[in-house]
């Protein structure tokens, strides 16, 4: 019997992340608009709200002392942001219309050349760029730097940003979201209060906007609680990337397909790599693989290491030095996996958290920004005299459905699923879908949960290259290069079944790019004990896709990305 990760669900329920307010009213922190997550979506929402406060002083009069607050679990805005990233500037242009020009935004420059390569172990064949992937008029950026810049812009507009603060529970009272409870700080490994224990706080808000990004902790709970899940389950890919200082400039953005992934259908290995220039002296190189893969020995971290040994890629990095490393999941379900609604009483959902990503175009930042902006406008409408809050929040759904996000996602709705049928068939189907703007083949192709894929084991790991500390790195060195220096003696934040079949333990150990899981001793009944090193965690979210559940550790934990 082959094992499926979903047969070993984590000891966790979405109700763990939902509760009533508990702080006495006079100790509660009151804000008008509370945004969870200082990423492109959350900060776009904050900036738009700040703009509206500025533009409409009469309405703003009625707001409290803290009109807009943003919670960020990372050490600082940008610390947990990681993306390719080639950014379609459309969302930012709309957000900063009449206020900022593109050349004032933190971009590394416009894309002037691009190649799509099909790799074999030693060769690279240039293939025509699929129309969805054309990057003309797009800009290379570090989303971490973009996040820091957006945070500064937001603060200038009077937004309060609260870094190192995790949003642990969604506060629901009378069927309505009334705010968020932040996580405790200063607990020991066993959960005991340390000398500097600082309890979390209830933050009450008129409207709560969840912009938590991929695998959002409260977003997942809210989708359950309010019955917002769409017809199809969300699926994810895991992306691992490095930023390198290089000796010579790279003149184009490069995407690759093929090696080191295997094309046969039974492996379900969908993905590819990217190499983007960041100015004249840096490049970023990354590997993305769909988490519907089956091989317990597949490790995206090590596939990226292997990719760098390819002569075509190695040439770019020669004489260079790795400066940063990081990993994150990407929601890949697209249109068919979107929630049925994007709002609930007192609540709006945006960005990657609800899967607003265009997989064939490899883009989501502009959708995040646009959805954040639209959410802000809907939230603001609740302030209009005589407005119905319910209608105002529902208007967010309507505006999303009228936006370019909806149109574009619809066109490419079946493309990702096609690759479940192997690389070649998937590629052919994707071509047909592009040519017909999504009309052929007709209908919606369903997604299948990543955790439902049965596991196989090959000896894939044997061929990963050995670390040399220069081109090829081991996972612990990579964790170090993420800036992660999480306090070790805090409670474990990863929920998994700790006694599972060996295949599943192997899957987690290989999958995790940060060496959080280790296959322990056999228990004598066919299972093994999984050992955890939670402080290595860079909160990529892969475990949630493959049978476990990531919950937020103490605020300020995790990676400290600056250029990813």
């Amino acid at each position: 019997m082959s094992v499926r990760p979903s047969e070993f669900p984590p000891p966790w329920s979405s109700s763990d992340a939902i509760g009533m307010p508990t702080d006495p009213v006079d100790e509660r922190i009151d804000v008008d608009f509370l945004i969870v997550g200082a990423g492109p979506a959350g900060l776009a929402a904050a900036i738009r709200l700040g703009q509206l406060v500025e533009a409409d002083p009469a309405t703003a009069e009625r707001l409290g002392e803290v009109p807009v607050a943003v919670l960020e679990k990372g050490k600082a805005p940008g610390a947990h942001l990681l993306s390719g990233a080639v950014v379609n500037p459309r969302g930012l242009q709309r957000l900063f219309k009449g206020r900022k020009r593109i050349d004032e935004m933190p971009f590394y420059g416009e894309v002037h050349g691009e190649s799509v390569l099909f790799l074999t172990k030693s060769r690279a064949v240039r293939i025509p760029t699929p129309p969805t992937m054309v990057n003309h008029r797009n800009y290379v950026a570090s989303v971490s730097q973009l996040g820091r810049w957006l945070a500064e812009e937001a603060e200038e507009l009077g937004v309060t940003i609260l870094p190192e603060t995790s949003a642990e529970r969604l506060l629901v009272d009378g069927g309505r979201v009334v705010g968020v409870r932040t996580g405790d700080r200063g607990r020991g490994r066993g959960g005991e209060e340390l000398g500097n224990f600082e309890p979390g706080s209830d933050i009450a808000a008129r409207v709560t906007i969840l912009a938590e990004g991929t695998q959002g902790h409260l977003t997942g709970a809210a989708l359950e609680r309010f019955g917002l899940r769409g017809e199809n389950p969300q699926v994810w890919a895991l992306g691992v990337k490095e930023v390198w200082k290089v000796a010579k400039p790279l003149d184009r953005v490069i995407h690759t397909m093929g090696w080191p992934l295997r094309p046969a259908k039974r492996y379900r290995e969908f993905g590819g790599s990217f190499v983007y220039p960041m100015g004249d002296d840096m490049v970023t190189v990354g590997m993305v693989v769909g988490l519907d893969y089956r091989d317990t020995e597949l490790s995206v971290h090590d596939l990226l290491q292997e990719l760098k040994t390819h002569p075509r890629i190695k040439r770019i990095l020669d004489g260079g030095e790795r400066v940063q490393w990081g990993a994150k999941t990407i929601p890949e379900g697209g249109f068919v996996a979107l929630p049925s609604r994007f709002h609930a009483p007192g609540l709006l959902l945006c960005g990657d958290g609800v899967g607003l990503v265009n997989v064939p175009a490899l883009k989501g930042i502009h959708y995040a920004v646009e959805s954040g902006r639209l959410a802000a406008e809907a939230a603001w409408r609740t302030l209009a005299r005589g407005a119905s809050t319910r209608e105002a929040l529902a208007s967010y759904d309507a505006s999303l459905r009228e936006s370019f996000i909806w149109r574009e996602l619809r066109e490419v709705r079946n493309m990702r699923q096609a690759f479940g049928r192997g690389f070649y068939v998937g590629g052919a189907l994707a071509g047909a879908m592009t040519a017909s703007k999504g009309r052929f083949p007709p209908g919606d192709a369903p997604t299948e949960r990543d955790a439902d894929q049965s596991l196989i084991s090959t000896d894939r790991a044997a061929s990963y290259p050995a670390a040399d500390g220069k081109l090829v790195f081991d996972k612990l060195s990579s964790v170090f290069a993420s800036g992660n220096r999480t306090r070790d003696d805090q409670p474990n934040h990863i929920r998994i079944q700790e006694r599972v079949p060996r295949e599943l333990a192997e899957l987690w150990a290989h999958m995790c790019p940060a060496q959080v899981y280790e296959v322990g001793e056999a228990d004598g009944d066919g299972t093994v004990t999984v050992k955890l090193a939670p402080s290595n965690c860079v909160q990529c979210g892969a475990i949630t896709a493959k049978g476990g559940r990531l919950t937020p550790p103490e605020g300020g934990s995790g990676p400290e990305y600056t250029v990813t």
């Binding site: 803290v66 610390a79 603060t165 932040t182 340390l194 000398g195 500097n196 600082e198 933050i203 800036g483």
Partner: protein, 250 residues
Amino acid sequence: MKIAVCVKAVPDAAAGRRLDPTTKRLDRSGELAISDFDTYAVEEGLKLKEASGEGEVVVVSMGPEKAMDALRKALAMGADRAVLITDAALENADVLETAVALAGALSNEGADLVLFGQQSADGGGACLWAAVAEKLRYPIVSQVSELTVGDGSLTGKRQTEFGYDTIRAPLPAIVAVSDSINTPRYPSLKGIMGAKKKAQETLSASGATGPGTTVVALNPPPPRGEAQKIEDDGTAADRIVEFLAEKRLV
């Protein structure tokens, strides 16, 4: 009681600290954060103020203008206000110039007690307080792992290479605390939200004289000695003892 806490904004560790090849000084162009060691001094100041039930804790720093953002962490922890000495002339300040600048600001403040952390997180000499004490003509107790203050004097337990000394000094005085003295608190959310509204004063330095030290060159580190690697053939223990004897370690 008025307590001044001297803190330093250092390049955030995560961004990777590096020396600027042009100025040959630490590159401070990136994000700055309050040195972890200084949070122990802030915590001690806050505890003393809370214990006495009155008084003020003011954080004093010298650094670029953006260092004020880093000082806000001390304000979020509970310090009452922040004073930042910032001046282009002090960009490459060494311990001597820094001591003069801090002493100037501190004498304006007239604090009863001046606290420092045990070292900066970015490679300082762990001695700035002594230079400041000299300029202010205050007594100094460093490496203090226990501190009590009352009746116009302080008693500190100092950790040295040889054990623990207990030293008493009258106020005003300077104390550098070690990181075993307390566990710094996390800023509360209300503290973080209130930090921006607290008084934040920027001073320019008067009469900077230039540093007393220079950086001549930066070199790569030498390889570690003549590293030896041996396989144990049953004599490894003897070989190790020989090696230790050679290095005069046994």
